[in-house]
Symmetry: C2
Subunit: 326 residues, 2 copies
């Protein structure tokens, strides 16, 4: 059973919502062991308020979080005891096998790179989310870690995303390149170059490249199990999907005269594997949740982190990069 | 009452679905006059099949369409009588005030630029769609006409989109820049430069710049009435929204045990102003519909084309570029 380090200070409603998640996981016999990261006295108080005996938990001291308007690298260099750094370091030192933080994606990415290091062959890590398409789960990456990409960085995302899809239990996942117009020669300059590169290098690396896919393929899911995008496009698309589903729940709930079933669809989706972004390409399991996430969503992130530890995500990713044809 | 030239040969199910749209518009006393573009004998036959007296219509001969896998510029140069060119030319020559085609966006853009010319100040035209956010209509551009953009091209889109929003009746529309993370300094290189440029030049041009917006703002709509994107990101996002709404209609329809009301929401949205893409920056009203569009969606495109003619879209766009601070 892996141990998961949980950042008490990340998220819009931290630390209370994270403490609520700890209370929920306390009642789940299959939940992984937790190592809490935050101010010790406050953590003890939060646990007591929820009727939890704090002696059942180790709290690793941390002295602050990165604010949404702060530059992560500056804060991380000035204060090595900021919660994301402490949590990532617990994984680097083997005291935990994974770490989870909700909230500031840039801070989590920076802490993961600085404390855990990158997997050789992966120049920049990619945030990978699972989108619940009509045809089954689709892995979308990068969802916002690396806004400016090159064709070769997209190739690295393809390799990492392919491994992640296999770890999630998708057999022989097809990899698609997110672009506009599925015909040959369409798309922007970056995509036209990446398409040629993917066609040349992915099949020899044992990765089935299914070609260009489009924005609607995330909802429909027929075209590919892994969708590769630069972090700018991937983040815009992911947030667009979230907004569209909220639009649909509101409009469709009104059309039926009863909003509850529509919103239950939204909530069920958010509290499954789809809750957490997996940071691929760093040497330790790192899950970044939604900043506005509920306690149930944070629990889903913790469970996802434990599950990919059990499936050997990091070693399998490293192996994929060490054996691929460059 | 403006006359709208309608391309019979554009769209996945052309010409039948376009002829169905003609039949529907025939029954609407407020519909604009139509000038049909296509093979004359076939058009007459299609009208007769639908119980319409062909003598009530002028059919302007055209000898083919641009296939989805063909390069538009090559086809347009080889055959000046292809339907999109004939339709755009009718507007250039003043025989129609607008033209509508569904299907091949690249072909429609190329025909519009070649036959109508660009509005001075706008280097490349932008496809502009209206998204029905929870807070009201939001104009998104570019939705796929120009995949590679510069900060200055995005500025031109902001000016054109602002005018289009006013033409649609949105008072003092706020313009947002689509990016990732709404905090200062976030986004990719293109967006960081564009944000500085927008801040500097839009307010002196009388355009309210509301700052960075994110993907979910298309569904929620609180942040801005005009959302500016490069054509790659805009197209991915638009198609992503369409796929997400189909996902939601399927899942939510199942949750209620009755799919019909959910799909009615989708259909109502598709047959309003939201049906058509308005090509901004060319010297004539050009509406590009969804290639898979139904007859009702094509009717909505024709009505939208007539409405913006009445509101003087082209002259107002030209004026916005002639008076703005460069």
């Amino acid at each position: 059973m892996p141990t998961v380090a949980l950042d008490l200070l990340g998220g819009d409603r931290a630390p209370d919502v994270v403490a609520d998640a700890v209370a929920l996981l306390q009642d789940d016999p299959e939940a992984p062991d937790l190592l809490l990261v935050g101010p010790v006295d406050h953590a003890v108080e939060l646990l007591r308020e929820r009727g939890i005996d704090p002696r059942g938990f180790v709290v690793e001291p941390a002295t602050g979080a990165v604010g949404m308007d702060e530059d992560p690298l500056t804060v991380l260099r000035q204060n090595p005891e900021v919660s994301v750094s402490v949590a990532a370091r617990l994984v680097a030192r083997g005291r935990a096998q994974a770490w989870v933080s909700v909230g500031h994606t840039g801070a989590a990415v920076a802490a993961a790179v600085l404390e855990l290091g990158r997997i050789p062959g992966m120049a920049r890590p990619a945030l990978s989310v699972v989108v619940p398409s009509l045809a089954g789960p689709v892995v979308l990456l990068d969802a916002g870690a690396a806004p400016d990409a090159t064709p070769d960085l997209l190739r690295q995302f393809a390799v990492a995303g392919h491994t992640y899809a296999q770890v999630l239990g998708i057999a022989d996942p097809g990899v698609g390149l997110l672009t506009i117009g599925s015909e040959e020669g369409k798309g922007d300059r970056l995509r036209r170059s990446a398409h040629e590169l993917f066609r040349e290098v992915l099949p020899p690396a044992g990765i089935r490249y299914v070609g260009p896919v489009e924005g609607h393929d995330l909802g429909l899911g027929m075209a590919a199990s892994v969708v590769v995008a630069d972090g700018f496009t991937g983040n815009v698309l992911l947030k667009g999907l979230e907004g569209a589903v909220q639009w649909a729940a509101t409009r469709m709930g009104s059309a039926y005269g009863d909003p509850e079933p529509a919103w239950r669809v939204v909530t069920q989706t958010a509290t499954s594997d789809f809750a957490g972004g997996m940071l691929l390409g760093v040497s330790g399991v790192t899950v970044v949740g939604h900043g506005a996430g509920t306690a149930e969503e944070i629990c889903a992130c913790v469970r996802l982190a434990a599950r990919v530890c059990d499936m050997g995500l990091v070693s399998r990713t490293a192996r994929a990069f060490s054996t691929e044809v460059r």
